[in-house]
């Protein structure tokens, strides 16, 4: 049944856990729509025949709907639409909440190619390797205009926005090669901004990434040099370099000893990631990737309680990969103390 409907609707193969959820809802919607509109259509055709005009200037009775009819045509469609909405929204919330154990991959779109970087290396252009049956979270940004990551076989899509990170996730189920397409119009070569997702058996993937990390130092990525940033190497190491170069460490401490004692100009980075943080307007937020990125680009949007808004914006000063590297560096800064588990929102743990 699934296979028949999938073929009839020209849907691509179902290669992620999310694909099945989406397709089942799709079938539900299309089957209900088909039957409902066929019923309305048949009634209309019956009327065409039964009530065809029989003589010129035929008089017709005045007919108006009963209150019951109007209530029915409001409540029945509304009930059906809301049912679809609830199922669709439930699935969407699932898609917006990556599991804590998801493996992270940084994705950057630029006119007109895709770059993928793993926190501990390697990075690649155009081809994304992921293990099957393990959740993978994509942290997506763009270097220039808006792009959009679309993997039809996984039924996932997320825009790549310049100046901020968006995220999506999937668990691929079937090893193989799948096309990745850009779905946000981005200029002359938009229709050629394709990439490939290679889904590997988990063991094969582990082998592959170890191999890559070993050979990483010697390889040069020909396409990365115009970025002024060498994408090769450990993102955390790169993040540390960026933090020193950009002067972040003049205000933010990365030293365990400072934590908990004297207050610096800016909040410490140690244990910052996932820390429940009180803001000066009284609300409490979780310091996640989105918050960290925002604090670099628009530092005054959220001020931590007890601190002054003195940080300049790094909008335009940090490239996409540099931002990713900084985030990854901050995430790596952990003290030994046991972290207070957050009770609000999902907990993201990077894969170490």
């Amino acid at each position: 049944m699934n296979e028949l409907l999938r073929q009839m609707l020209f849907l691509p193969e179902q290669a992620s856990t999310f694909a099945l959820d989406v397709d089942h809802l799709h079938y539900f919607v299309i089957i209900v729509t088909t039957f409902a509109s066929a019923a309305v259509g048949l009634v209309a055709i019956a009327f065409f025949w039964k009530y065809r005009q029989r003589r010129p200037n035929q008089a017709t009775p005045m007919v108006n709907p009963t209150a019951g009819f109007e209530v029915a045509v409001i409540t029945i469609p509304l009930a059906i639409f809301l049912l679809w909405f609830f199922i669709g929204f439930r699935d969407f919330v699932k898609l917006s909440s990556p599991p804590p154990d998801a493996m992270d991959v940084y994705v950057m779109g630029k006119q007109w190619m895709w770059k993928f970087a793993y926190p501990e290396g390697p990075s690649s252009v155009g081809v994304l390797h992921v293990p099957a049956n393990r959740p993978v979270r994509l942290l997506i940004t763009s270097r220039d205009v808006i792009h959009s990551v679309f993997i039809p076989a996984f039924r996932v899509k997320m825009d790549a926005q310049p100046g901020r990170y968006t995220e999506t996730w999937f668990t691929a189920t079937v090893p193989g090669r799948y096309q990745l397409l850009c779905t946000e119009y981005c200029g002359a070569q938009h229709s050629k901004m394709w990439g490939e997702v290679v889904v590997m058996a988990p063991e094969a993937f582990d082998e592959w990434i170890k191999d890559q990390q070993r050979g990483m130092v010697t390889r040069q990525d020909v396409l990365a040099d115009e970025d002024q940033v060498n994408l090769q190497g450990d993102l955390r190491e790169m993040g540390k370099r960026v933090a020193i170069d950009q002067g972040c460490l003049r205000c933010h401490s990365v030293n365990d000893a400072v934590y908990g004692s004297e207050q610096h100009i800016g909040p410490t980075w140690v244990d910052l990631y996932q820390r429940p943080t009180k803001l000066d307007n009284g609300t409490e937020i979780i310091a996640d990737e989105a918050y960290l990125t925002e604090s670099m680009m628009d530092p005054n949007a959220k001020i931590v309680a007890g601190y002054t808004a003195v940080m300049p914006s790094y909008q335009g000063k940090l490239s996409g990969p540099e931002t990713a590297a900084l985030v990854e560096y901050i995430k790596s800064l952990r003290s030994d103390r046991i972290r207070q588990a957050s009770v609000k929102g999902p907990l993201y743990e990077p894969v170490r």
Binding site: F10, Q53, M62, V73, K157, L181, Q315
Partner: protein, 556 residues
């Protein structure tokens, strides 16, 4: 027997005699070019809108055919990538701002709104003419900008692409800004006309449903259009002077643009489709000889769509990184638009019950309209079902969905209006058999063009693709074949209407035997609209007592 009908009896020739056009009517009241260009007669302005918007439809149609030909093969076919990108920008902008938005309100709203209300003209006739010239000026500026500047941003102008592109988009943005004023002026004029110029007896709930639809449309035009005006100016300023509103490299926020843009452009869909719904409400009564089934429900659902349509824009941003809560809220609100549309559809089908249906060309278009609205609407509901949209967003599924609504429903509404009111506007009939043939071709052509595009979207083909992977080729060929059928249908219509305009059989006052108010006047109407005192005491489309119009119809 009402006053108007008995006057009508007097006015027409006896049964069997050759009908003649009235001696004096708005078309021959002044024949100089000046008498047209400087007219303040709402009917002549409507005809000028007909010329302008039809030119827009022709241009947009030609661009569409170029796009479809390019997509015939997966690789480059007839044009380059950059030309293709300019073509779809041109196609979108011309179709939306030169045809879809002004077409039905500008042509049929202008022509029939005052007549339906029993007024001699709109409230501000000179504004009405001004509005037309503002439309022409904006359209000319936009076209000039597109052709010389070569904007390649798509009609959505998403930042920062649009503010960093090397093509010159400033004149295009200014053109859109100027056209917006035409839209606001027309909307304001109609609102004031409806409030102040209803003839005695035409109470709010006796207004024809077309008037209600135009009323809803006008409210959206007045409230939403300023936002797109503002947005286009900001984009033009960022592109030209480098201000940082939307480009993150300059400290701006690209998502802000998307919110501003869709705050107008989502309601704009209802600016296009509500008037078409109004046309259908009129014509379905005339061709099933029945009062509308649930008058107040249909009237109020027009206002409901106009209101709720303002709060649904975020469903265009499900994959932009918008929060899950926002996505859910916008999705739930979008479902309400679907419910208001469903009310209309059920009530239109209910109108057929116990009617006396004649299957004419306008009725064929009504059927086409219902078909496209049902499937265009249901795919819209499916797209608003958040998780489904993740797969479909920015694919051909979206393209097919909005073409079903905008091309399918709106053009069906336009063609219904054109055929239903052609005898009233020009006093002559079009050839019915040719009309039915063209209607069949067009409905078939639309389906053949856009059903494959739904499937392309399912298969995962993104929109605005100049080249595409091989596996999408077969469906693209089918779509292009369908588009050529469609073009053929439009050519037939253009030919027979052009012939009918000068040589068609004289229609007489009321060739359809319709009981809409507008059919009480001669065809074509005199400059002052009525040849007898207006008496709109009956409710529109009451076919319970057809004795009085019978005489008129026999004569016809």
């Amino acid at each position: 027997m009402s006053q108007s009908a008995s006057t009508a009896q007097v006015a027409v020739a006896p049964a069997g005699a050759q009908l003649e056009l009235p001696k004096k009517h708005y078309l021959n009241d002044g024949t100089t070019i000046r008498s047209w260009l400087l007219t303040v007669d709402h009917k002549r302005i409507a005809i000028m809108y007909l010329v302008g918007t039809t030119f827009g439809l022709l241009l947009g149609g030609i661009f569409a055919m170029v796009l479809r030909l390019e997509l015939l093969t997966p690789g480059p076919t007839i044009i380059e990538a950059l030309t293709y990108n300019r073509m779809f920008t041109l196609h979108g902008l011309v179709m939306i701002f030169m045809f879809m938005i002004p077409a039905i309100p500008g042509v049929f709203g202008n022509f029939f709104l005052p007549i339906m209300l029993g007024a001699k003209d709109v409230a501000f006739p000179k504004w009405n003419l001004t509005s037309y010239y503002v439309y022409l000026a904006g359209a000319a500026l936009m076209l000039w900008g597109l052709i010389t500047g070569g904007a390649d941003t798509g009609w959505t102008f998403y930042t920062p692409y649009s503010t960093t592109t090397t093509t010159n988009i400033a004149p295009v943005m200014l053109g859109v800004f100027v056209i917006g004023f035409s839209s606001i002026l027309t909307g304001l004029n109609f609102i004031v006309t409806i409030h102040t110029l209803r003839a005695p007896g035409v109470t709010w709930f006796k207004m024809p449903l077309f008037v209600w639809a135009i009323y809803g449309t006008s409210i959206i035009q007045v409230l939403a259009t300023p936002v797109i005006g503002l947005t286009t100016l900001l984009v033009a300023a960022e592109h030209t002077f480098g201000f940082g509103f939307f480009d993150p490299a300059r400290g701006g926020d690209p998502i802000l643009f998307q919110h501003l843009f869709w705050f107008y452009s989502h309601p704009a869909v209802y600016i296009m489709v509500l008037p078409a719904m109004g046309v259908i409400s009129e014509a379905i009564c005339a061709f099933s000889r029945k009062n509308i089934f649930g008058y107040s429900m249909i009237a109020m659902s027009s206002l409901g769509i106009a209101f709720v349509g303002f709060f649904a824009w975020g469903h265009h941003l499900f994959t932009s990184g918008q929060s899950a809560f926002d996505a859910g809220a916008f999705a739930a609100i979008s479902m309400l638009v679907g419910v208001f549309t469903a009310i209309k559809i059920f009530n239109w089908v209910g109108t057929l019950y116990k009617g006396a249906i004649s299957f004419t060309a306008p009725f064929a278009y009504i059927c086409g309209f219902l078909f496209f609205l049902v499937f265009g609407g249901m795919t819209g509901i499916a797209l608003a079902t958040v998780s489904l949209d993740v797969h479909w967003q920015d694919t051909y599924f979206v393209v097919a969905h909005f073409h079903f609504i905008m091309v399918g429903a709106v053009i069906m509404g336009f063609l219904t209006a054109l055929h239903y009111w052609f005898p009233k506007m020009f006093g002559r009939k079009y050839p019915e058999n040719w009309g039915l043939l063209a209607a069949g071709l067009i409905v078939l052509g639309f389906n053949a063009t856009f059903i494959p595009q739904f499937l392309l979207g399912n298969a995962g083909m993104p929109r605005r693709y100049y080249e595409y992977p091989e596996r999408f080729a077969a469906l693209n060929v089918a779509s292009t074949a369908g588009a050529s059928l469609l073009a053929f249908g439009f050519i037939i219509i253009a030919i027979y209407l052009a012939i009918a305009l000068f040589n068609g059989e004289v229609a007489g006052r009321n060739p359809w035997g319709s009981r809409g108010y507008e059919w009480d006047t001669p065809s074509p109407p005199p400059t002052e609209n009525f040849d007898h005192p207006v008496d709109h005491t009956r409710i529109p489309h009451d076919y319970t007592d057809t004795e009085d119009v019978a005489t008129v119809s026999h004569a016809t």
